[in-house]
Structures are given as C-alpha cells and as structure tokens.
Assembly symmetry: C2
C-alpha cells in the first residue's frame, strides 16, 4: 500500500540526501526524527553566515553557509541565489547521492485520514522507484499502485511506462497560493486529502512547488536549477516555478516522468502576503509570457543529456525572453554557469562522482 | 461542497436526458429513484425488439427498440450498432436537451467515505457547469471547487478556464479492466475513493468509459458517436474508447474541456472475461496503431463546428486507418452517416431543435 507506514529498514538509506534551506534553528526536525534520522542531511544556510544554526542532536548532516558556497564555487557562486530559498539548489549540486528530497523548515508531518503520521519521504521514494505514465492518461490514477491497474483501452505497449525523474508532493493546511490569492482568501486551508499519485502528461506544464519535492539527481539533477532570486534580483518566489518549467520541458524531451499528488506534508505557516506580493509582482506579469515560451519550447534531437538540454534551453531563454527584461539575459548566463559548476563538482557528468573540489563544508 | 448531497430542487431538470442502453428490465432504477426520477429517461433497447422491457413505475421515459431506430433513421440506421451498448448513442441523437447523462444498467449508487449515497448525476452536472483547465495543470486539482483554488504560479490569464464539454465519472467495486487484466486479476476490486475532479490536459488522450458519463450535447454531441460495434462487426467494447479518442481531439481543437474523477458509481458485476476477450482482441491489437493516429491528428483551423471537425476526422480515419483493416473504411463511412442523421434530427445544427422526423417513439 502506498501511504504512511514506517518501514523497519529505511528505503535508499545510503542513496538519498535531504536538502533543507534555512535561516533558523532546525527544531522542525524533531517531528521528522523517526523518518529522517537514518538519512544524511545537506543544510544550506541562507542569509548571515555568522549566525549559528542549531541542528537537533543525532542527525547526520553537512551545513553550508554563504562563505562555504563562495569558497567552493569561486566566481561561479554567482549562480546561487542569496536571501531566497532558491539557494537550496546548491545542496543538489554538492550531494553525491542518486536521489534528493528537499523540504522547507516550516513543513511538518501530516496525518492521513485514518490519523496516522504520513512518512512523506517513504512515499516520495515509492513514487521515484516506480514508473510514470506520461504518454497516455490512466483514469484510475497510478496504475502501479496496489489495488489499481491500467484500465480498459490503455495501450499495452505503453504499460511499461517511463522512468520517474520527479515526485512533487502536496501540502495540507496552508495551500501554496500566490500573494493575490493569499490576500483574497486569508483563511483558506487545504483540508482535502486526495489519495492519488498521478503522472503529469507529456506536453503539460505544472506549477512545481519546492516545499516538498523529490527527484532523481542522476536523471534530472542538472536541470533542477532554482534560478536567480532574492538579493539583487528583481523577483522572488519563482525559483521552484522556474525549475519546474525547465525540468518538465526536458523530461518530456528525454521521455522521463513527473508525478504529483501524495505525499502530503503539513504546511504550518502562511508567509506574509504583502512581502510576497513585492517579491512576486514581476513574476506574475512575466509568467504570462514565460509560460507560452516553455509550452512551445522544443529541443533538438541531438540533445541527449540533461546538460545539453539545459544549455540549449538557456540559449532559447536568452534569445526569446530577454525582450521581456534584461534580467533574462542574466538568468540565461547563470544557467550556463550553473551547468559549469555542476560539471565541476560532478566530473563524470553522471552527477554521482565525488566533487573534485575538496574543501570540506562547515559542520 | 462537491460531492453527495441531495438538493431539494434538482439541477437542470428540464435540460438533461438520461440515456440508458439495455436488454433487460430496468429494476436498477429503483436504487436511483431519489436522484433520477425528476429527469426524463431515454431508453435504448438493444437486441430482440419484441421483448418487453419493464421500467419501474413513476419514471418519465421514452423507449426506442431496433424497429424504432430503423423507422426513424431509415437507411441511415446502419450507423447505429446492434447487440452492443454502442447503440446508446442513438439516444444522444434523439434527445432535445442540452445535456446528456448516460449510465449502464449494472451500475448502482455508490457511497462516499462517510457512508452517504453519492448523487452521481448532481456531481456530473456540477462538473459540466463549471469550467475546465486544459491548458495548465493545477496541482490542487479542480481550482473551482470549494476550499481549493489555483496554486502559486498558475497564469492569471488562464484562470477563466474553458467550457466543460465532458464529465467522465469513475467506478467503485468492479474496475473497468480489459479482458486480459480481468483474467489475470479476477478478484481485484476498486475500493479507493479519490476525492478529486481533474481536467485532462490538452494534447492528452484518455480511455473514456461509457458506463458513467455526462456531456454537453450542444458543445460536443455530434462527436459522441460510439462507432460500429457488436452484430456484424469485427470488434466490441471499443465503442466508448472510439468516442473518447474522437471527442478529445475535437475538444482540444475547439478549446473545450474534459474532466475525469468524481462521481463514482457502484459497478456491480464483472462481465465475462472470455466473452470480452473475443470482442476485444482485435481492438487490443489495433489500438496500438489507432492511438498514435489520434495522438498526432490535427484539424484545420477552418473546422469551427463539431460537425466539420468530425467529418474531417472521418476523412483522416479513412485515409490513415484503412490500411489496418477494411473495417475502418466502413467505420469512416458510418461516421459520415452519423453526422447526416444527427443533422437531420437536429436541423438547426445546434442540436437543440425538435427532430424534423416526427415518428413517435414506442413507450
């Protein structure tokens, strides 16, 4: 059964890193202890590097602050955002594991309708380890789940599915709304537990939220760049959206799957809608052009690696989005820098080798 | 709240017909009485026309047997299948209403997780009366539902959505599996109530099941042809699939929405997998070519009505699928006949005028 049981031996214990961007003490980990403690954490400290972040006892972690990022990446550190949770993607780059789970520090353990704690990480791993079905819609949702299957009329040749690159989880309590919707519906809470995992069909874009997200670094890692946001940039809160548009176009091109639905986490606190509005307003305007750009973007057949796809996409961004704002020229350049930095830290090109730069992280 | 409450005044009482194909007494209506009795029923009697079909007292209905179909359509009756539930589409044609709900006579009232009877028709009507979102995926499912909305990153220009043409409901208990899956998993039952309605994205095909289906005749009626199946034809059990492929291509072209998910009905009895295998086996083989055909089908811009789209599709079927089997030439011709018959019975071209042929149905 997909869902919420705690397995005695944690899945993929040595193949998955949990990446957490933060500016505060990580007390939220206490609630996740039964589920996260067996795994290695990569903490990306945003903001003032002199601040000490407390991590509860017993967790195995490495922590990087801005000084570490600058030291490790040198001039290429310019591609990593500052004062924005977009900085989390530095953790994807320094990880040496095949899988990443990333979660915000205001997300807690949710309960399923039976009242049981949901092991979100376990569900993400199940999502990633079983195929997706991007080429044809299955009306009974995930056909690989216990008690479900492909329905009548589903082509047999497509039943092997595609490898799953991304698992996008959802949120109970505070929904992930933009500032205008937050302002209009300040009291709205998500209380509906939809017991489904589904594949987002090929050719369809979705708003990817970085709050509760897992992916296969080996399959899609180099495209999981959260862009330039926050300090010195004209927008914020579009880091995960940017990554979502890019990874979807590349997954579609490479025949990889993206799932959404279970698992839920409990999102505890709505961020300030006035602050959000300030960060978002250019994005709200720009996305009306950016989304059609990504909807019609195609990649040439000879782009067969994620890196090739991503560099090609960066060219198209520069060519077609720079007319919106000079910011997109800077972003396109940062996309190239990101790939250079990724390849430097992951020299085999597979993203699994040890970083060639041996500066130890602070701990 | 979307779901299962019984409203005091039934929605669209005078604007919706319930179409039921059958070969037996309609005792199943007893269970649906609280929900269906206010509506008009169109019963399409399949098989031996001399057989008397009993309809429980108190229902307002018209009933057509094969003799009625032949009398009303004359030579054009050749496009209506015999000895197959595909005959139901005759009911769509003779209806004078804007909306159709069609249900199989082995489908009963399901219960929601709280134990309450689900008013399937009410949920379908809600689905049809509220927009779809085919151009961008909303991760919290139907954004128009109480307690939900568009999530962060959903383009504001797309939030009006598209008119909903089709509402595809699901089934608890016996899932809609093909014969091979029935044979392999004879005891599998669908027990998972997924509390969601979602739009099937533009460009994505799905396996449409005719068991529990509603649609807007005015928007998509002329494309809801269930093909040539059963008596004298090489396949069966692909009637709804055929209609589903056609309507989806046309809805995508015309900017209309197709939803799937709630409501559930209780599907009581698995059909015989051996009989099904005999009916299906050519379809199982053929669909491997038919589905790529529909996935790549495009319609010219000057096709602006459903009829024009459907006739264009019939040409493409003849041209591209006849190489699979001569059956597709016959089917393409029947598609044309269907449109001719539709327009004859619905002379304004809007599908809402009274039929010009005034032969009363049997009752």
């Amino acid at each position: 059964m997909a869902g919420s049981s705690v397995t005695p031996t944690p899945l993929l214990k040595d193949e998955l890193d949990i990446v957490i961007p933060t500016i505060r003490n990580l007390d939220f980990l206490e609630m996740w202890r039964p589920f996260f403690q067996p795994y290695h954490l990569i903490i990306v400290q945003d903001g003032d590097p002199s601040k000490i972040i407390n991590v509860p006892e017993g967790f195995d972690y490495e922590l990087y602050n801005r000084n570490d990022i600058n030291r490790i990446l040198g001039p290429k550190a310019s591609c990593i955002s500052f004062k924005d949770s977009a900085c989390r993607c530095f953790g994807y780059m320094v990880s040496k594991k095949k899988y990443i789970y990333t979660i915000d520090d205001d997300c807690f353990v949710a309960k399923d309708p039976s009242g049981k704690d949901i092991n979100a990480l376990e569900q993400h791993i199940k999502n990633l380890l079983c195929p997706s079905t991007p080429h044809f819609f299955n009306t009974l949702y995930d056909p690989y789940r216990e008690g479900a299957d492909f329905v009548r009329g589903y082509p047999f040749s497509m039943r092997e599915g595609a490898a799953t690159a991304v698992s996008h989880g959802l949120w109970l309590n505070i929904p992930d709304y933009d500032a205008p919707t937050q302002l209009v519906k300040p009291r709205e809470r998500n209380t509906r537990y939809v017991d489904a995992v589904m594949t987002i069909p090929k050719g369809t874009l979705f708003p990817m939220c970085g709050m509760n997200l897992a992916f296969d670094r080996e399959l899609i890692g180099p495209a999981m760049y959260f862009g330039l946001m926050g300090d010195g940039q004209p927008i914020g809160r579009y880091d995960d959206m940017w990554a979502g548009w890019c990874i979807k176009v590349i997954c579609d091109h490479l025949g990889l799957g993206v799932k959404t639905g279970l698992p839920y986490i409990w999102h505890s606190k709505a961020s300030n809608p006035f602050v959000n509005l300030k960060k978002e307003y250019k994005g709200i305007y720009w996305q009306e052009e950016i989304i059609p750009f990504f909807q019609s973007a195609t990649l040439p057949k000879d782009c067969t690696s994620v890196q090739q796809c991503y560099l090609e996409l960066s060219k198209q961004v520069k060519e077609k989005l720079s007319t919106i704002d000079p910011y997109f020229t800077k972003l396109a350049d940062a996309m190239v820098t990101w790939i250079e930095a990724w390849d430097e830290l992951n020299p085999t090109g597979e993203g699994l080798a040890k970083p060639s730069i041996s500066n130890g992280p602070g701990k």
